[in-house]
Structure formats: structure tokens, C-alpha cells
């Protein structure tokens, strides 16, 4: 099952439509999408504006591939659930966000190579075709996290 998530706030129809059109000609594949406040009515994807935290966790767990905007919540949940991940950044030019900070996030991911980064909807469909080559999402490494936790812990107990 492919789980698509673009957060719960702004729509990101370019991403949802790309996955939907890819699924439409692949009747063997199933997909579920959290689409935010979108008017789009996908044909192949089962779509909901937002999921409760518990439902969201269940969808992450049940999926074998996550397709997400470059929002931190989505990225971290793919890492936590050790799922393969395709990321596409929202673009301010397309009216998908106030600014292009998601592009900066996507660039960081591309540089460390722990998830597939799609430039646009065409690239996204290419990654869907090549999904078996995508590694399980790991993030940049656990030592970054543990050193921050250690710093914070020492400060709390100082």
C-alpha cells in the first residue's frame, strides 16, 4: 500500500494528482492519501483531508511506500516506521507554500541520499516506477540525534 501525506493544512494537489494518475493504470496497487484542505477528488487514491494521530500511525505502519511533501512531520514518521520514502518539495511559485523552505529540506535529503527526492510530478512518477530501488528511510544518522539529546539532558540536569 502506498501512503501519500501532504500534512493536514495546505493542499499539494500536484503531488496527489501525480500519484493518483500513476495508480489509475495500476489496478494491482492500492493507495491512501491525507490531502489537507484540498478540493481535489482523486480517482484511484482513497483520500481524506486529515487523519487523527492514531489513524496516521496505522497508515504509516500498513504502507510499504510513503510519498510525502518535504514537511518535517512526514519525513520523521517515515524514518520512525522505517519505510521507503519519496519526497517532493512544495513550491512557492505554484502557490503551494509561503516560501521555498521545503526545497532547502529536500536538498539536504538529496545530499545525504536517505530518501528519493522528486523534482516535479514527472520525476515523482519515475520514482514510483523505480520504487524497489529506494532504500528504507534512515535520516542522516542517529549520532546527530543522540548528541542533541545528550546536550539537552545535561542542561536539564545542570
Amino acid at each position: 500500500m502506498i501512503f501519500v501525506t501532504v500534512g493536514t493544512q495546505l493542499p499539494f494537489d500536484r503531488l496527489v494528482r501525480a500519484v493518483d494518475s500513476w495508480l489509475l493504470v495500476r489496478p494491482g496497487e492500492r493507495g491512501f492519501a491525507q490531502v489537507g484542505k484540498s478540493e481535489l477528488r482523486p480517482l484511484a487514491l482513497t483520500a481524506r483531508p486529515s487523519l487523527s494521530p492514531r489513524e496516521y500511525e496505522a497508515m504509516c505502519r500498513a504502507s510499504d511506500l510513503i510519498v510525502a511533501h518535504a514537511g518535517i512531520g512526514s519525513l520523521l514518521s517515515a524514518i520512525r516506521h522505517r519505510k521507503r520514502l519519496i519526497v517532493m518539495a512544495r513550491s512557492a511559485a505554484h502557490g503551494e507554500h509561503r516560501n521555498d523552505h521545503q526545497r532547502a529540506t529536500a536538498e539536504r535529503i538529496r545530499a545525504s541520499g536517505w530518501a528519493a527526492v522528486a523534482e516535479d510530478e514527472f520525476d515523482l512518477r519515475r520514482w514510483l516506477d523505480a520504487r524497489d530501488s529506494i532504500p528504507v528511510a534512515t535520516g542522516s544518522g542517529s549520532d546527530r540525534l543522540s548528541s542533541l539529546v545528550h546536550e539537552l539532558r545535561s542542561w536539564i540536569h545542570a
Binding site: 492514531r54 518535517i72 520523521l76 542522516s140
Partner: protein
């Protein structure tokens, strides 16, 4: 009279605050930093309590500088939470409600920590910059954003 909380006398009281989604997801990843402390969580929306089973949870109204009335409601609610919890430490990963909690936490004598969101790759958010004036511990999650007069870097969740 004091309520009957079960905790060791030495356990630090920590109030951990973050908006739903990516901010909260980051807060949870840092939870090892306050393991063994007496922690209460604060976010926006009752359903977020699903994510912190076992810990006390409080919901506050969402607030931004564009909604003064909502912010006032947030202040009233946070003051009530601070009076009840009497935290020694207030820690936040953002966004606006976290900043508010840091400001009010200081008035209640707490030590405060701001861990700027890992989403801020190119520069700190406005909340993150304002937090520099309020937080005893001011951290960025990106090494290139560390500076002498700015936040410190010790690691990150991504």
C-alpha cells in the same frame, strides 16, 4: 494542599511544548533528554493526547501574532497550566504556542530551552529568532546556522 503525584523528590519537573505535526514529532524524538523527569506535554488539540500515553497532556488554543484574541486565550490557558505544573524547565521545538510558553515560563521562574525546528535549514524562523531573547538554552539543528551571538548547535533530529 499539594496534589498527590507519584515521583521521586529529585525528579525535575519539565513542561514540553510543541505545535502538532512536525514540531511535536521533533519534541517526541528528544524525549530521552527528560527521561526520569516528571514531564507534562502541551500542544494544540485534544487528540494529540493519543501520542503521549502515560504522560499528562494539556491542549492550548493555537495562536499566532495575527490572531491577538487567540493569543490572549493561549496566555490564559498557559498561565493555568504553569500554575498547576510549576515546571522547573520549559522546553519547546516551536512554534508560536511554544514561544508563548517560554515567555510565560520565565515569569514563573523556569529555565527555558528552545530547539529551533529542523525545518529551518536556511535561517531561523521568526519564532526562533525571538526565542533567542527568551531561552536560556537556544539551539539550532543545523551547524551552519550556529553563531557566536546566535543559537548553538549540538546535533539534530534529521
Amino acid at each position: 494542599m499539594e496534589s498527590t503525584r507519584i515521583s521521586s523528590p529529585s525528579a525535575r519537573r519539565v513542561l514540553a511544548v510543541a505545535s502538532p505535526g512536525g514540531h511535536f514529532e521533533q519534541l517526541q524524538l528528544l524525549a530521552d533528554a527528560w527521561e526520569g523527569c516528571e514531564v507534562a506535554y502541551v500542544s494544540v488539540g485534544e487528540e494529540m493526547s493519543e501520542l503521549v500515553s502515560g504522560a499528562r497532556y494539556y491542549s492550548v488554543p493555537d495562536s499566532s501574532r495575527h490572531q491577538p484574541l487567540q493569543m490572549l486565550r493561549g496566555v490564559v490557558r498557559l498561565v493555568a497550566i504553569l500554575r498547576r505544573e510549576r515546571p522547573e524547565i520549559v522546553v519547546s521545538t516551536g512554534a508560536a504556542p511554544g514561544l508563548l510558553a517560554l515567555a510565560l515560563g520565565r515569569l514563573f521562574g523556569a529555565r527555558t530551552a528552545w530547539i529551533d525546528s529542523v525545518a529551518n535549514v536556511e535561517r531561523l524562523s521568526l519564532s526562533g529568532r525571538l526565542a533567542g531573547r527568551l531561552a536560556h538554552l537556544w539551539m539550532t539543528q543545523w551547524e551552519h546556522l550556529e553563531s557566536h551571538r546566535g543559537p548553538r548547535f549540538a546535533g539534530g533530529v534529521l
